[in-house]
Amino acid sequence: MDWLTFFLLFLKASLLSTGGRGPFPYLYTDLIARGWAVESNFAEALTVGEISPGPSGLWVVSLGYLTAGLPGALLAALAVALPPLTVLLVARVHKRLKSFRATPGVLDGLVLAIIGTVAVVLARLFIANGVNGVTIAIAAITAVLTFTGRVPTWLLLVGAALAGVLFLS
């Protein structure tokens, strides 16, 4: 394992994106291309991120563990902790930033790009996992229940796990 490259890939993913899912497409393409991760690692890590406390963006720490053990997890944690430090710089210039007409456009554009890119990566994850009636039903039901916001995330994931054991083994 080339630790420096490993760390820099995680750092890039966090620094050049925003939010919890923003780093996902970077890490998915970079780590799979190098053979350091497989598709299922991402589902595993994202799931841990959803059910463990703290920001769910810490799913990358779980990914670090799954791909490179404890040192990988700690490097990933460092890689997500560093970019937000730039907020101290942002706080100094934020009034000037806000005065530019382009600023909200740049931020919104990033969100739109994340949505488009993550959609493709999710599709790949879904296909690699196996497309059939059961998996399509699970995805659709979870999307609707999440959208209504009445069922807690952990319960949805437990239900899906049970459905997997019952119907997909």
């Binding site: 925003t18 939010g19 919890g20 899912r21 497409p25 970077y26 393409t29 299922s40 589902a43 595993e44 841990v48 059910i51 463990s52 406390p53 703290g54 920001p55 769910s56 963006g57 810490l58 720490v61 779980s62 563990y65 799954l66 944690a77 970019p83 937000p84 730039t86 907020v87 942002v90 100094r92 934020h94 909200p104 456009g105 931020l107 919104d108 554009g109 990033l110 969100v111 739109l112 790009a113 949505i115 488009g116 890119t117 993550v118 959609a119 493709v120 994850l125 879904f126 059961v134 699970i138 995805a139 979870t142 999307a143 994931l157 239900g159 796990a161 459905a163 997997g164 054991v165 083994s169």
Partner: protein
């Protein structure tokens, strides 16, 4: 859910944009809210409060925002609601995880560099170690046939979950674009499709992110925003 979660502002920051600009008008030279003359948390208190937030918050969306408000605004009044709203607005401009950025900014507000260290360590220690422990636990059972089957069920659920989150992320920028007219709205939609196409073709992710940021930045420079209220970007990311 962290930052992909709905950015619906919590009650106290219901009008983040307007309160923030009011607060920045009130603040003198610095954009960081000036330290109040009232009581301040010590480094140990900072560490403990953020430890609690890191261990008990889930996701990072509006519920977490409320939790932070409770500790710093409602319970101790270390910050005014306006200060908090402005802090939250600034965080939206920073890269990476928003919850970590607000930890840094509030830590700095109360203890400069050491405040950042205490707050960040406090928030990250429980969250990171529980995440690692859960992953390690899972890694021990992942080879069981039941675990494999469970993961086959969880993966599509995760896809569904993420689709719903992304729909919530999508709404604020698209609403803002529609207010700028059909042209801006169409460009926004086209940029999503472009990002998806580029990724499907194996073009580096950075290219998609840059193209959409620059593209929409240009659209915002060219198109006139309706003069109703401030743009809701501060709450969209």
């Amino acid at each position: 859910m962290s930052s992909h979660a709905p950015r619906t502002p919590a009650p106290l920051t219901a009008s983040t944009a307007s309160t923030a600009s009011a607060a920045s008008a009130a603040a003198t030279s610095s954009s960081i809210p000036a330290s109040g003359s009232g009581p301040q948390p010590s480094l140990i208190e900072l560490f403990l409060i953020w430890f609690k937030i890191g261990a008990t918050s889930f996701g990072g969306g509006s519920a977490t925002q409320l939790l932070i408000q409770q500790h710093f605004v409602l319970r101790r009044s270390w910050m005014t609601p306006e200060e908090f709203a402005q802090t939250w607005a600034i965080v939206q401009f920073a890269p990476g995880i928003n919850l970590i950025a607000i930890t840094v900014l509030i830590g700095h507000r109360f203890g400069k560099a050491w405040g950042v260290v205490a707050s960040l360590l406090g928030m990250m220690t429980p969250a990171v170690s529980i995440t690692i422990a859960m992953t390690a636990l899972y890694a021990r059972v992942r080879d069981l046939p039941q675990a494999t089957a469970a993961l086959h069920g969880i993966t599509p659920a995760l896809v569904g979950l993420s689709l719903a989150f992304m729909w919530r992320l999508l709404k604020p920028p698209m609403v803002a674009l529609r207010r700028r007219g059909v042209f801006a709205f169409t460009i926004g939609g086209a940029l999503i499709v472009l990002a998806a196409l580029l990724t499907a073709l194996g073009i580096p992710v950075l290219v998609s992110y840059l193209a959409a940021s620059v593209g929409l930045g240009l659209v915002y420079v060219k198109s006139r925003a309706p003069a109703v209220t401030d743009h809701p970007t501060h709450t969209s990311m």
